[in-house]
């Protein structure tokens, strides 16, 4: 038996979008298949690895566990929406500078989790970084370069904010 499909509307990376899909279809699949945003990766498919992390209504979620009907009316940000006007996010720059990415499968989720962390807590200590990223698994880096990337991004972000403040004066 085939259940009725639904039209679901949400804001994706700042732009309104509508998809017609089975309501239980995973947000992950809608992003990758219907909307062709393949930056969001599938790792475990059961909420353990964090590869599919996106932000929904300002909170970090595993898109493999979100039935798309629950994204109705939501604001969704994926890795494709992290850079603004062609300028990489400070975290993306820091991951490049510190070697925070290797094979790249965990990287989009890692960046989204790190972006969420810095939004909530702009100057996390190492324990807070570890907790913020504990749901994101990496098999390549051994995590240290990822943690260093987040430390660097947090430091740069505060520098750039201070610079902006100085310019404003």
């Amino acid at each position: 038996m085939s259940a009725p499909w639904a039209t679901i509307r949400f804001i994706l990376n700042g732009e309104p979008c509508a998809v017609h899909a089975p309501p239980m279809k995973r947000l992950l699949d809608v992003l990758r298949e219907d909307l062709r945003l393949t930056g969001t990766k599938e790792g475990c498919g059961e909420g353990e690895c964090g590869s599919c992390s996106v932000r929904m209504n300002g909170e970090l979620v595993n898109s493999c566990l979100v039935p798309v009907i629950q994204a109705e009316g939501a604001t969704v940000q994926t890795i494709e929406g992290l850079a603004t006007n062609g300028e990489l996010h400070p975290l993306q720059k820091a991951f490049l500078a510190c070697g925070g990415a290797q094979c790249g499968i965990c990287t989009p989720g890692m960046l989204m989790a790190a972006a969420q962390l810095l939004d909530v807590n702009p100057h996390p200590n190492i324990a807070e970084i570890r907790e913020g990223l504990a749901g994101n698994l990496c098999r390549c880096t051994g995590f240290m370069r990822i943690f260093e990337s987040v430390v660097k991004a947090a430091a740069n972000e505060s520098t750039s904010t201070e610079e902006q403040a100085a310019h404003a004066r």
Partner: protein, 292 residues
Amino acid sequence: MRGNAEAHQMIAPGSLAAVLDLMSSAPGEWTPIAGGTEIMVAHAAGKPVAEKLVSLWGIPELRFIEDRTESIAIGAAATFRDLRAHAAINADWPLVSRASSWIGSIANQSRATVGGNLVNGSPAADSSPAFLVYDAEIELVSSRGSRRIPYAAFHTGYKQNAMAPDELLYAIHLPRRFAQHRQYLRKVGTRRAMAVAKVALAVTALLKEGQMSEIRVAAASLAPFPVRLVQVETALLGQPINSITIQPARAALLAEATPIDDIRSTATYRRQVGANLLEEFLIKLRTGDASK
């Protein structure tokens, strides 16, 4: 193999009244889904999932935390992130905050709800022991009305509970009267994040003139569902805490616990570690450094 999304109906009525109407019109036919951290995982693994699902996500009437002076009411769709961010819960029910920080990861805490954790009824549920030692009450609601039962009477068997097919878990109520109690919660698992408990123990205790005047002990993964350990409580009630009284309490726990062997641990280990956790608490209590 993954389940087929197209084989399921999922609707989002958007209000509590509409959900209750649906559930009363066809009791037992519709299974509620909130953050999906159980059902979507089962779906991913190709395990059986109800054919008809009704979404509770985004219903404001279910996602609330309301401080009522004598108690706090936590809506069933409050997430564990909501709980961790709540100042009164952190201050007055610290074990709930700590347990909430153990739920999966940040991404899971953003989605997993209190109601989901309790209705799912895992024997290893992270939040359950804390709620049990705070004498929580569960408020159930249906189109027939609402009723409250002690949380200790909610779980009735492995993955079974006291809810009727047309009922929904509406809220959990925590009385505010544990400021003077020594409070303890410890989980033993393989990793800090994302690990299901091998065993967890929670205690609230009140000593008066060196004797145990109140004690509540609850455990995860020591029975088919989260339980109060009443024989352990009985063994300690009215007693002073010393090497003579700690031993019968340990023995009571070893006798009362009914854990199983599974992929995460063994019954023998769980029983032994459960008793060790109890002893750790009692020693801390005796030496006066029991952490809150």
